[in-house]
């Protein structure tokens, strides 16, 4: 029963990850479904849908199409839609029904490409995987098809994994780009968002990849093996995380964090969200409040190499509830929907930090972009204050 979710809604699925990664790249994106999945992407998962321009269509799959195939009708519809403007490519993205009837995305893409004369991708997404796997699939497909072999001396950096589904907006990307510029690394391309279609083919010319979300780690490793581009991981939000990432970029030894004895800890905090983002919060928090004890957990992309002892990958609700119960935290920071998972016996206070990949537009009025500078300081100070207050207000003493 570990796959049964009783409290949380379905997360943004793999098809939304693919469509989101391709959103700004001038392609004709077709989700092969009966309209529910397309609706989930456009109406809920994709924060840019109501403000940006993107051509996302629904194939309008019906029962009869599932029975008899009707690939020709689908190709006709794509052909008609493709005539509307000069698209850079066509992407046909899968959903549960095509998966169940064994629709051949790769074969269809080959046929459609021969017919249309522009690159066509088929993504056999199923709706059963999470958005970060879709992001990854899109990155790999784009790289294999469009990234050119490097010419000349490598220069600049690619930003990998800046997806709006992980709350990166244009401002966040601009802040990261400014940080890289200050470190002598002009941005070559951004993977996850950005309207620089022309920059994608140049990605292999970068001398460094900067991975800002755990979902992009497999892609960074792939680029390293294929084009020998080294990578560093981290999200530069404030002084502490900027300094750490700068050390990694310049291959300088990192400054170890000051150790605090457990009996000197002032309060415990559980940060639940995208792993790199929560890691960055932890670094910034501990640099300001070193006596806090901070644990990170995530339902999404997770890499053990970037986890600390006690951190929790959360494959399901049961595991999240177990972590919350056993951790006995003073404060939990995460998407508002996670509040439901806190056991009744817990005295933990809660700070809302909405995550698009989890609750989509439900909390669109909350702060959903990343915080930098004074906004970050205020946010982290608020967290520390709430955690200390929660500890001081406990009815039950904290176990030794």
């Amino acid at each position: 029963m570990s796959y049964l979710f009783q409290y949380l809604p379905p997360f943004a699925a793999d098809y939304s990850g693919v469509a989101s990664a391709l959103h700004d790249l001038g392609g004709l994106v077709v989700i092969h479904d009966a309209s529910g999945c397309t609706g989930s992407f456009t109406g809920y998962d994709e924060p840019r849908w109501f403000s940006g321009k993107s051509s996302v269509y629904c194939s309008g799959l019906r029962e009869f199409d599932a029975i008899v195939g009707n690939d020709e009708r689908l190709l006709d519809n794509i052909r008609n839609a493709a005539q509307a403007k000069d698209f850079n490519f066509v992407a046909l993205i899968g959903s549960p029904v095509p998966m169940l009837v064994g629709f051949d995305f790769d074969g269809f893409a080959r046929m459609a490409e021969a017919d249309l004369g522009i690159p066509v991708f088929g993504f056999p997404t199923t709706g059963f995987a999470r958005y970060e796997q879709g992001l990854s699939a899109a990155f790999f497909a784009l790289a294999d098809r469009f990234v050119e072999e490097p010419r000349g001396e490598a220069d600049g950096a690619n930003i990998l994994g800046a997806s709006p589904l992980d709350n990166f907006d244009a401002g966040a990307v601009a802040s990261i780009a400014a940080f890289l510029e200050r470190n002598g690394l002009p941005v070559v391309s951004v993977w996850g968002q950005g309207d620089e279609w022309r920059s994608i083919p140049k990605a292999a010319g970068a001398k460094l990849n900067v991975v800002v979300a755990a979902s992009a780690l497999p892609f960074a490793r792939y680029m390293e093996s294929r084009w020998n581009i080294p990578w560093v991981a981290g999200l530069p939000l404030g002084d502490e995380t900027e300094s750490a990432l700068e050390n990694r970029i310049r291959r300088r030894p990192e400054t170890p964090r000051a150790r605090v004895r457990r009996d000197e800890k002032s309060a415990t905090i559980f940060l639940v969200g995208e792993q790199f983002r929560m890691n960055a919060f932890r670094e910034e928090l501990l640099s300001r409040h070193p006596r806090l004890e901070v644990t990170v957990g995530s339902f999404f992309a997770w890499d053990a190499a970037y986890a600390e002892v006690g951190d929790c990958p959360l494959p399901n609700e049961d595991e999240a509830i177990r972590c919350l119960r056993e951790g006995d935290f003073d404060l939990v920071v995460g998407d508002p929907l996670l509040r439901e998972l806190i056991p009744d016996s817990s005295e933990a206070r809660f700070v809302e930090e909405a995550h698009y990949g989890l609750s989509a537009r439900l909390y669109r009025d909350h702060v959903l972009s990343l915080r930098f500078g004074s906004a970050l300081t205020a946010f982290l100070d608020g967290i520390a204050e709430r955690a200390l207050f929660a500890r001081a207000s406990r009815k039950e003493p904290v176990p030794a």
Binding site: G102, D104, R110
Partner: protein, 294 residues
């Protein structure tokens, strides 16, 4: 002496073992063609025409030539590889997934006669579920477990149930799976009709990068003018007859003993036919050899 013990006298029972992780990862012998592409052939044809018999004998003959052979049965009945595994049914990929959820290669890859890697995709119980979807799921699982990279076969033979009836049964001929399709047919009208349908499906899918038609393997039923009828059908679908297997009682006799003819009656003329056919499906069979066989 009863019939059972008589057969045992003829054919000793071979050992069947699950493929252990250590064996799977064993390095190949030097010069054994580690970099060579795998030759992957899917066998289609009318139900009951003798595909499993033909494919299993071919697997055995190829294995006798020193090749690493993998046979994947794509039929919910899961009986494709039975004559390579001493007549014993092995757990299918779907059986394992149904029982355990997760799985490892050694749960459903079994070494049969001469080390042939035997896999049965399996499927739903009769009357429920979706057999085509079962093949897709089994293939996906093999891919997730990197079956080809781990087992490093030289030849993979897909034994597919009947005709290309839906997306699931077309899976073996899709890009990335079999590169070639061989049709097993007799001279009977319904078998040749099925051959036409299979060829038509391949033709329809030509722009999708699907497998190419390698030819027809004639599994004779001793009907009047059979060779000419099959040859004519081959011409009509723009292919060729790559081998003619005569009808032989030894086939049934070997199957009753849970074996292939190649194993049970290695010195028989029928075994020689399969050995000859295996030259065509050998990974090193270049165009000249293939033409010479025709």
């Amino acid at each position: 002496m009863n019939l059972e013990s008589s057969r045992r006298d003829v054919c000793d029972a071979p050992k069947v073992s699950s493929v252990s992780a250590r064996e799977v990862r064993a390095p190949r012998a030097p010069g054994a063609g580690a970099e060579k592409p795998i030759r992957k052939i899917a066998f289609y044809g009318k139900g009951g025409i003798g595909k499993s018999t033909t494919v299993s004998n071919l697997s055995a003959a190829l294995a006798q030539r020193g090749l690493r052979v993998m046979q994947i049965g794509c039929d919910p009945k899961s009986d494709s590889t039975k004559t390579l595994t001493a007549g014993r049914a092995v757990p299918s990929v779907l059986d394992v997934l149904r029982a355990k959820g997760g799985s490892r290669l050694e749960d459903f890859v079994f070494e049969g006669y001469h080390g042939v890697f035997c896999v049965e995709a399996g499927g739903p119980q009769p009357g429920i579920g979706c057999a085509g979807r079962a093949i897709i799921t089994a293939f996906n699982r093999l891919e997730e477990l990197h079956a080809y990279e781990e087992l490093k076969p030289d030849v993979v033979l897909f034994d597919v149930l009947g005709d290309v009836v839906c997306g699931g049964f077309a899976m073996p001929m899709r890009y990335g799976y079999a590169d070639e399709v061989a049709i097993v047919s007799s001279g009977e009208m319904m078998a040749l009709y099925a051959a036409h349908n299979i060829a038509q499906a391949l033709n329809n899918f030509s722009s999708r990068g699907y497998a190419k038609l390698a030819g027809i393997v004639q599994n004779s039923r001793n009907i009047v003018n059979e060779d000419a009828l099959v040859a004519q059908a081959a011409e009509e679908i723009k292919t060729r007859v790559v081998g003619i297997i005569p009808r032989s009682d030894l086939v049934q006799e070997a199957e009753n003993a849970g074996k292939t003819v190649v194993e049970c009656f290695p010195d028989s003329p029928q075994a020689a036919v399969y050995a000859e056919l295996s030259r065509f499906f050998h990974p090193d069979a270049d165009a000249t050899l293939r033409e010479a066989i025709l």
